[in-house]
């Protein structure tokens, strides 16, 4: 009885155009991108007196994110924005929300196919596309062929899996002649990235032409190792963070692609309000623009996180 009562509330609230409570289920508020995202989100929401926001962080724990969802459903918020830790594991939670009548907009990280039926749509960057863009950048830098090593994020995470897949698929589709010499994890940790890069250099030396590092921090870290070893490699990162764009300007890495948490968060908030007011989203998948960044245009991208 309780569940249905709370489910009816938001509809009523929306109809009167009154106060909205928009919730964000974050994977881990300690991750810089997410932290920046939350900052931008809260700032944007603060400008609108009719919007309250609730932010819950799952602290990197899949089970906690499911619990967070239950909490949000119990609170009877109007819209849930979710950046899922795991695109598969989130599906039951999406289902529960949809059964409770709370609309969910996936942001920053997309749920798997099974989950699509329970969400209103998606807004944010696209990890898979980022992998593709990275392959394109690499191809540009290496003239379509060369030996490559990959420094992955945490194994098993969908971000890692998608960026890998995007890179490989693009390589195939565009017929880039890359040879993957080795692929190892750095768990998103620049310290580990340095160790991995050092070991790659020990193992392959100047055979390596390019490095695909799955985020900017590890890319920059790898860049420093390459520089210190007196070698030259084309390093491609992901994310367009302050550190990444600076590394491009410093000549440490070749390129990355922008992923702005502000754009991401503001678009998410805008869509959330639209959803609450019963409006249609422009597209089902609303990918934010992710322009390539290289030395040529790095000055236009100071980085936000």
């Amino acid at each position: 009885a309780c569940a249905s009562a709370s489910a009816e509330e938001p509809a009523a609230a929306a109809a009167e155009g009154k106060h909205l409570t928009i919730a964000y289920s974050a994977p881990n508020a300690g991750w810089p991108y997410i932290a920046a995202w939350i900052g931008a989100f809260e700032a944007a929401a603060a400008e609108d007196p009719d919007v309250d926001v609730v932010v819950l962080s799952a602290e990197g724990d899949v089970a906690q994110q499911a619990a967070d969802f239950d909490t949000l459903i119990a609170q009877g918020v109007d819209v849930i924005l979710v950046c899922s830790l795991d695109g598969d594991a989130i599906v039951p939670s999406l289902k529960a929300a949809s059964e409770a009548g709370i609309p969910v907009l996936a942001v920053s990280n997309e749920p798997s196919e099974d989950g699509q039926q329970y969400i209103v749509g998606y807004s944010g960057p696209d990890d898979y596309v980022q992998g593709k863009i990275a392959a394109d950048l690499m191809a540009k830098a290496l003239d379509n062929k060369g030996n490559i090593v990959i420094i992955e994020g945490t194994p098993g995470q969908s971000t890692t899996n998608l960026r890998n897949q995007g890179f490989m698929d693009q390589m195939e589709e565009k017929g880039y002649d890359f040879t993957i010499l080795a692929q190892q994890t750095a768990n998103w940790d620049p310290v580990q990235a340095k160790a991995v890069m050092e070991d790659f250099i020990t193992a392959y030396g100047d055979q390596i032409d390019g490095v695909f590092s799955q985020d900017d921090n590890t890319a920059a870290a790898a860049g420093e190792v390459v520089r210190d070893a007196g070698l030259k490699m084309a390093i491609v990162g992901t994310g367009g963070s302050k550190n990444g764009t600076q590394a491009i300007r410093d000549g440490l890495i070749y390129g990355t692609m922008d992923q702005s948490p502000t754009t991401d968060a503001e678009q998410a908030l805008k869509f959330a309000k639209m959803i609450a007011n019963g409006e249609e989203l422009p597209e089902r998948r609303n990918i934010i623009p992710m322009p390539e960044i290289t030395a040529e245009n790095a000055d236009q991208f100071p980085g936000e996180w």
Binding site: G30, G39, Q184, V191, K242
Partner: protein, 327 residues
Amino acid sequence: MNESNIKKPNAVASFFRNLSGQTIWMVFAVLVITISLMEPKFISSSNILNVLRQVSIVGLISLGMTVVLIGGNFDLSTGAILTLAAVVSVNIGPENGPLTALAIIIPLLLGVFVGLLNGLLVGLLKANSIIVTVGTQFMVAGATLIYTGGQHVWVWSPTQFYEAISGGYLMGIPNPIFIFLILTVITQIILKRTSFGRYVYALGNNDDASRLMGIKTNLIRMSTYVFSGFTAAAAGILLASRVKNLDPTIGLGYEFQALTAVVLGGTKTSGGEGRIYNTLAGVLTLGIISNSMTLLNISYNLQLLIRGLILLTAVAIDAKRNQSVAR
């Protein structure tokens, strides 16, 4: 094997005999030989230096962890201390001389302070050290996040000195290795050659008996935590200097790596027993495992399996060899 771990006088000769009696050094030697056969690049001098540099951060934490463990306690807050120290160090912005000094001194003081807090709580309350240090870990990690707002911190143009902490060389050897090895030797001297070190062992053996012999057990216990806080903070500075751009959760989990190395080195979790040189071997063993896996490009999944099995084998051998010793 059943003699005490005190260093006997006239040690140089017995040093190597001593080492050969330590399981972890044997495991280490076997691994080194096996890996060298599989991948000759492994024993190149540059790779050796790489490994040493890579382990120096975890190695530093392990030193403090060993001392705390010998005293009969745990310190699970070191990962959080390391993170706090690294973040604060970078955030101070060591871009000129005085700032560089601050970026080194303040994090160390913070580490010492958290260590003091740990020591006070564990000692005065006689509370279980695991739960206490998990408590301080939460507090320190949370405080670090609040301090940074969850954002990256970085320093674009640190002074040469700051860069050199982890990037420089002394006589062709990277500085972090020097820092780590010197602190290892100092820790060894503290543990084996000073009365403080002896009291730490006594404490871990039998708290009550130690007190009855006039040892100020609370003070000693607190000092072990201060030392651990110090080494964790030192590791944080090393890390900060190595990447200069960090996210505020970067070091969480390092405490488990260090703990693994320490226990792999034969230090008893029940206290009273342990040797710093074996911790060194534990640190190196973990270091060469991940180094060689990368060199051989073994997939991460398989790495985990192999690492787990090596760990289990090593401790199983150690346990078997120790079995004749009375409880």
